[in-house]
């Protein structure tokens, strides 16, 4: 099995204060902490599990800045064989269809493949679109939001996670693109020996010119969509805010729950 896994570096904004920057079209990310996108981390693990079961190779692809090298090396330390990082300021990364074009060009340049895995969603943009668009660009079948993969002869049997805990089982011919849902496996920690070995593995850095992709195809000016403005929405909350020190808050809340007949 020759597998590609696409990963992305994203900020953790779940507990961070988010402010729009001076352009009005992006947020100030200077104080964010970054890591591999959650779903992509599961995709890396799934790719390595498949390699361990069926032999073959795992190549890591990342569209992102030099700071992403740390997490790329981590994926190599876990069992990835080599990596390509694509970086080019002309790519409009807010358009998932442009991103898919760049990833497709990168994979095509590397030749044939059996499987491409991506996370089903990036935690910053929430499009859930890149993997499925990538499949179309590559001209291969796909399945999105996959939470179980079984590699068979010339095809994969997968479970897609649907709403309400329901799953759909389907068979998809190889080569194929699967977008991986979180929770599909238990991502491993990189072993110390792997971390050392990863430093010696190949990590190519390519731009649009190396990929033979015209700026026209992937630039903001030529995107079919336009991000006009970003803004922090007014949070409409009807909540009663419990004030005080932690212990006082607990006391007030306990009173309300017990005496207010909520329990």
């Amino acid at each position: 099995m020759k597998t590609f896994v696409c990963i992305k570096r994203v900020p953790d904004t779940s507990e961070a204060e988010v402010k729009v920057d001076a352009t009005g079209k992006e947020v100030d990310s200077s104080r964010f902490s970054f890591d591999i996108n959650d779903a992509d981390n599961y995709a890396v693990e799934e790719a390595i599990l498949i390699k361990e079961a069926k032999e073959g190779t795992v190549q890591v692809i990342c569209l992102g800045p030099k700071d992403a090298d740390v997490m790329i090396r981590m994926a190599l330390a876990k069992g990835g064989d080599s990596a390509i990082r694509v970086e080019d300021p002309r790519i409009f990364a807010k358009d998932p269809l442009q991103v898919a074009k760049v990833l497709a060009a990168t994979i095509k340049q590397e030749g044939d493949f059996d499987l491409v895995l991506t996370g089903c969603m990036s935690a910053d943009n929430w499009n859930m679109a890149v993997g499925v668009a990538l499949a179309e660009e590559l001209g291969v079948p796909h399945a999105a939001m996959v939470n179980k993969v079984e590699v068979l002869d010339g095809k994969v049997k997968v479970n897609r996670e649907l709403e309400g805990g329901l799953s759909e089982v389907l068979e998809v011919s190889l080569p194929a693109v699967l977008t991986i849902q979180t929770g599909i496996n238990e991502p491993r920690y990189a072993p110390i020996r792997g971390i050392r070995a990863a430093q010696k593995k190949e990590l190519k850095v390519l731009g649009l010119d190396d990929l033979g992709v015209a700026e026209d195809e992937v630039s903001e000016a030529n995107s079919l969509i336009e991000l006009m403005q970003m803004y922090v929405p007014e949070l409409e909350s009807k909540a009663e805010i419990i004030e005080g020190e932690p212990e006082e808050k607990a006391e007030i809340m306990a009173q309300k729950l017990v005496k207010g007949g909520l329990l």
């Binding site: 890149v130 179309e136 649907l162 336009e226 729950l257």
Partner: protein
């Protein structure tokens, strides 16, 4: 002017709510576009669905063919591409659901459609369509515009629009499927129903819900102690079940269970929309989170903006005292 096409979504013999949510917003959008609301339905033995959808549409276009007995994104894509090329609507709305996200991006690539995903609202500025979506854990909104030619493809977030009962009497038109034989490269096998574990959280009266903020498995004892003190069952966000702190059947949200308890205490949950959609029907909601911007507070009745590790043990202690 052009029409607004809406894709009807159904599964296991039922039209899904997202269909009616989109169709409830559709008349307003179609009016701005100066066209009709046209619902597109693909299925097998779906005459009754077509009738029902006619109440929400100016026209229902439907394919009734055994090849569409179960959802298959590739089959949908083939038929929808033909319909869009023939009818050239201005806008095509598809659910941002497990069906929609498995199909829409590929359709956009095939037909070079301008696409905005996970749309939670739709505005018009100077007569131009402007969808709204979110970034960064739902903490910022972005207004989009379109530069390319229509049809514009929008995937619509669930529960974004209130359902308004339909009162139209749209025309119903059956169309021949351009797909003549089954596809061999993607085959539906079966559905697997959700597992039900020892506790059915959809039936619980009181729920203590835990999220990423609890950080590690060993901290779950804080949650268990509180749950025990108040006679609650424990559930959690996707982060909690993915991390293995709770079994999957305890997950609340669109991909898990929708719960409506009397009391829901959300601890260390930021409140992604998928989670909110699963718990906002709770009668009373208490949220404990140190991030004042956490979206969970938009649904809360009581907000404790503080460190859960300081508040939760004290809350358990005080409740135990008061209950004697």
């Amino acid at each position: 002017m052009g029409d607004l096409f809406v894709l009807a979504e159904h599964r296991q013999g039922e039209l899904r709510e997202i269909t009616f949510e989109m169709l409830s917003k559709a008349p307003e959008v179609a009016k701005e576009l100066g066209g009709d609301v046209v619902t597109v339905l693909l299925g097998s033995g779906v005459d009754a669905f077509a009738e029902k959808l006619a109440a929400y549409s100016d026209k229902v276009l439907y394919v009734d063919d055994p090849l569409f007995a179960d959802y298959n994104s590739d089959k949908y894509q083939k038929v929808l591409a033909e319909l869009l090329k023939t009818h050239k609507p201005d806008v095509f709305m598809v659910g941002h659901t497990t069906q929609g996200v498995d199909m829409a991006p590929a359709l956009a690539v095939e037909l070079k459609l301008p696409m905005v995903t996970d749309v939670m609202d739709i505005h018009f500025s100077d007569g131009k369509l402007s969808p709204v979506r979110q970034y960064y854990s739902g903490k910022v909104n972005a207004d989009f515009g379109f530069k390319g030619d229509p049809p514009y493809l929008l995937t619509i977030r669930e529960a974004s629009f209130e359902i308004v009962e339909g009162s139209k009497q749209g025309a119903i038109e059956k169309v021949e499927s351009p797909l003549k034989e089954d596809l061999d490269y993607r085959r539906f096998i079966e559905y697997i129903e959700a597992e039900v574990g020892d506790v059915d959280i959809t039936q619980s009266e009181i729920l203590v819900a835990v999220g990423r903020g609890i950080r590690e498995d060993k901290n779950m004892t804080l949650i268990e102690d509180l749950a025990k003190a108040i006679g609650a069952d424990i559930c959690g966000s996707r982060a909690a079940t993915d991390a293995g702190w709770l079994p999957h059947d305890r997950q609340v949200g669109t991909s898990g269970r929708v719960v409506k308890p009397k009391l829901y205490i959300a601890i260390g949950i930021s409140g992604a929309f998928q989670h909110l959609a699963g718990m906002k029907g709770a009668k009373t909601i208490v949220a404990i989170n140190k991030d004042p911007d956490a979206p969970i507070f938009t649904e809360a009745d009581y907000a404790i903006i503080d460190d859960l590790f300081k508040v939760v043990p004290k809350l358990t202690e005080k409740i135990t005292e008061l209950k004697g």
